[in-house]
Symmetry: C2
């Protein structure tokens, strides 16, 4: 490969090898039909001028883009980072690449990102959508950009989806706390509810009802601004909020482990002991959950597998006989030391 500056195309290769561009093209896509000697010369020329095929030009001729977009709440959120890693690994096996985007729970960003991705004519989009109205996603799919949902119920949409049973997750957390004897439980979530978080709250509510309690009394719904740039700090600040809002609360279920981490900090500052004074449940079971002070009771999800499955479904969309499917994972309760019977 030479250091010749700027990029060179097939034309330069053809000139260097003394053949036509179509012969170069043949060497690249159907080497067997080219005379061995010619082929050798062309290959040598390719190395000499440092030729690399030009993706966009190939796309224009109908070769599909190797790029797949991933649209999540926040690519730095460890849960979605693992999802993306699962997507990336599955794509890599196909020579495809991951374009990762964050919405920060903002509809305008989501809209903008989808437009940008469509304009790039990506191979497809894997999205954990914010909004309830899925029209845009259906349109996108119908206009030729396959869409796979993650963390969002497929409903009656004509799309593939990979989900984790969030209602079950909420139930597991709720049942655990109820069994310990808690009768007033708070759910700490954001002001905007993406589908998975809403599902968990619903599961918690169902567990409370199933235990013969009235959610109006037993469930305190906390909706505070908990999002990307400062989730940990926001959760720490929520400690005071929770204590003043309702002193009778004896347990808090958090939207995720990161929020639980912040909340633990905030509670320490307020002099509240966990789990003696207050039980805390997280969500995700991130790698650090088991080594927090105290070790965090949480609900485990398999983010890497979710990502991998989503990529799998997306890649399958190109098949001619493709049927849209939903893959569902089950969450799992992990009991540690942040929960205990109420005082």
């Amino acid at each position: 490969m030479s250091d010749r500056s700027r990029r060179s195309g097939m034309r330069e290769v053809a000139r260097a090898a003394g053949v036509s561009v179509s012969t170069v093209a043949n060497v690249l896509s159907r080497p067997s039909i080219v005379a061995p000697e010619t082929r050798r010369r062309v290959e040598e020329a390719i190395n000499r001028v440092g030729y690399v095929p030009h993706g966009p030009a190939r796309q224009l001729r109908g070769v599909p883009s190797p790029i797949v977009g991933s649209v999540t709440l926040d690519l730095a959120n460890p849960f979605y980072a693992e999802v993306n890693r699962g997507i990336e690994d599955r794509l890599a096996a196909e020579g495809c690449l991951l374009l990762a985007c964050s919405t920060d729970l903002r509809e305008d960003k989501e809209t903008r990102l989808l437009k940008l991705l469509q304009a790039q004519a990506v191979r497809g989009v894997i999205i954990s959508p914010i909004e309830v109205d899925p029209t845009r996603l259906l349109t996108l799919s119908r206009q030729g950009t396959p869409v796979v949902l993650i963390d969002h119920p497929r409903g009656d949409l004509d799309l593939c989806a990979v989900t984790v049973d969030d209602v079950l997750g909420g139930q597991l957390a709720g049942e655990h706390l109820l069994a310990l004897g808690h009768r007033r439980i708070a759910y700490l979530g954001d002001t905007v509810d993406p589908a998975p978080v809403a599902g968990r709250r619903e599961g918690l509510r169902q567990a409370i009802i199933a235990a013969g309690l009235d959610p109006a009394d037993a469930l305190l719904d906390l909706r505070l601004r908990m999002r990307p740039p400062s989730l940990v700090d926001a959760a720490a600040a929520a400690a005071r909020e929770i204590l003043s809002a309702s002193p009778e609360v004896t347990a808090v279920v958090c939207l995720n482990d990161t929020a639980a981490l912040g909340l633990l900090d905030g509670l320490e500052t307020e002099g509240v002991r966990v789990p003696q004074d207050l039980s805390i449940v997280g969500y995700d079971d991130l790698s650090f959950a088991r080594r927090l002070t105290p070790p965090l009771t949480t609900v485990r999800q398999p983010p890497y597998s979710v990502g991998k499955a989503a990529a799998e479904l997306l890649l399958a969309e190109s098949a001619p006989d493709h049927d849209h499917r939903e893959i569902r994972f089950q969450p799992e309760l992990v009991v540690r030391a942040s929960t205990a019977p109420p005082r």
Copy 2:
């Protein structure tokens, strides 16, 4: 926007509006020169057929790609996830997108990724490189794909770079331990040393020398396989290794906080108390470090700022009068409860 299936191009818009393609193009890029009534008709047609410009075709005509590649060790590593978030946010302000890739510390993957990115004719590449030989990166840059290094000394390369002073980071960790009275310190790293990790080890060595000690006695260099899929577990397993290799070791500096997390687990299993029996220092100061059991002494780096600065430098490469620069951040020691004087 209609639900008309498949994607439509300018031609369909032109037909729908009863004008030529170039008038459509004018409405899009120089609306002012088009007659108001014509413009209205064209805009209406654009919405009606759901037109979205075709990026690859525009690229072929010389419009630069909005896509920037990021090549790091592992996009799910919280440190690089934050770096990527910094990149993404800066790019978003310019309407650009982040293509995130992981090398898993493997040269062959790095090579393959760079080739793929170049083939996509991306706007540029931000890379935390594995290998010492930077020829490929220079070639890439000369062939028209700007390259910005992160976490790698710029040296005499004609490239932009964003770095954190890793030698200083290692020194800070070393000085802290030496001041506590430790005289035999282990450094836990991978078998392959990417530049930043090598720098930290070097800093530690320098601190030891500056204290008048002989690194041959005072520094135990542990090189174990510590990488992506199971870093935490590998570090946990390293506990036994450390204890058997050298019982006189009283402190361990880990390549990052995630490894420290795993090591803490492993040590607990082995019945070793931290910091009473062994002091542990991490690196990065991830959000969970301060709430681990015990709270982790570590060296803080500003990943989000590193990413943001790298994106800034990359975007600046398009300017005609561009000069390659290096931006350097300083790490900071954060003392917590995982370090104490040796017994």
